[in-house]
């Protein structure tokens, strides 16, 4: 689980200013998000559903920018 300390190290390695943000907040949101989606991993359909995003099947979509 990420902590403010591990996030500081990771962000610094990425070349980002770790002092510019609230690292504890990021750690909490990351943990909560990981837990929520992890709970879906064991449910039927997680590995079997077709991908939803299929750009070639969305007429009129020409991409963001």
């Amino acid at each position: 689980m990420a902590t403010a300390t591990t996030l500081r190290d990771a962000l610094t390695l990425m070349g980002l200013d770790a002092d510019a943000v609230d690292l504890d907040w990021i750690a909490r949101i990351m943990a909560q998000t990981e837990d929520t989606i992890a709970a879906l991993r064991t449910e039927p359909g997680f590995a079997s559903e077709e991908p939803l995003f299929k750009p070639e099947q969305q007429p009129g979509r020409s991409g963001g920018g």
Binding site: D22, T33, A39, E43, F46, P51, G63, G64, G65
Partner: protein, 445 residues
Amino acid sequence: MALEGLAASRKMVGSDRNRAVHLAQQAADAARPFGGEGRSFISIVEDVAAAAAQSPTSDALLGCIFSVKDNIDQRGLVSTCGSALYANGPAAAEDAVVVKQMRAAGAISIGKNNMHELALGATGINARFGTTTNPWDTSRGVGGSSGGSALAVALRQVHVAFGTDSGGSVRLPAAMCGVVGFKPSPGWISLAGVVGAAWTIDCVGVFTEDVPSAAAVWDAIGPAQPAPQNRAQRLAYLKDQSMGRVQPPVWERYLATVEDLRRAGFDLTGISIDGLAAGPQICISVAYAEIASLHYEQMRKRAELYDPAILALLYLGELWSGRNYVDAQRARSMLEARFRRIIEPFDAVLTPTLAVQPPKIGEPAAVAGDAPDAELYTLMRFTVTFNVIGYPAISVPAGLDRDGLPFGLQAVGKPGRDRILLGVAKRLEHVLGAMPPPPSARHPP
């Protein structure tokens, strides 16, 4: 100056293009720099006649005055995205596709609307360009991220405004301002010319004062789709708080609205909507990663130009692993399959648009019992999942709650059935009654 409604303005203009340009110039002059009241605009077109010189190919929207959120390119104006990062950037050389489509239909743009910085938030609080204030209670915000667009329509500064919606950014401010906010099926309005869009999740959406105006825009620029059938519409409504907690005044108004619809003869089936609770977490896993990829250099070179809260969201996008991103995409497909089964027997599903009243500026949006740090999730509770799974949705004004604040009813339709959804919304509005403009936008008696 408050504009008359779209239908009345089109009737007044007729086929006289000079009269349309004159009306647009009046509207532009009235929407003072920075939007005057409420800070609805970031930039205004100075010379409307010159900007509208290109000949339209039809008169479908002649007499329609519109504006776009400041992340949608309009030739000759800077797309600031509500951020200091782009505030001094070059003017766009070309119109976004949606602007071209509106111009081709005879509509005239008068400028660019204020927004939450980089479209990464739902409060409308903006340190660089000023915070948009709610026309029904100026101590409250208009929401976001397309808050300026919603406000411009509420104040009748324009007939139509465009925004973008990746978690509710059109429907939320529409509900808070008492206007219609329509997020179509993804891909049906081009994202070309939208700056910094979340690649797989963003949509261009439209604000209007009523549903027929939204339908007129869709008829002019939308694709050919099945039309509403002449039969009773089958509607479901969320009968409980299975999608999350709701503030008492909002829930009370929602249930009263459902009762009004039932009394008017709507065939309504009450349903629970379980199994979609991961929508917000899926959205932030996907959208922030997609947006962070567009900010790779800027985050490293000019971090001081971001609001720290916005920078934290982009850092989240950097920190997710590839596995996190793919997990979220898989979860997204699962939720879509679940909701497909829920909506299958119906033409649309009704929910509140928002779980809360428009929040006071500077106070976090929360319902008693919500987790701390969850303001964004609280605001997006009823909207974000339908971005994640790619369903069209519209927020229709449904009067004022017991405290005199606007309430929005959300109708969710099936992908590619946007015209049918607009047909449902038209019937809802017919029963619920047109929303009056806020006091500050009313014409003198």
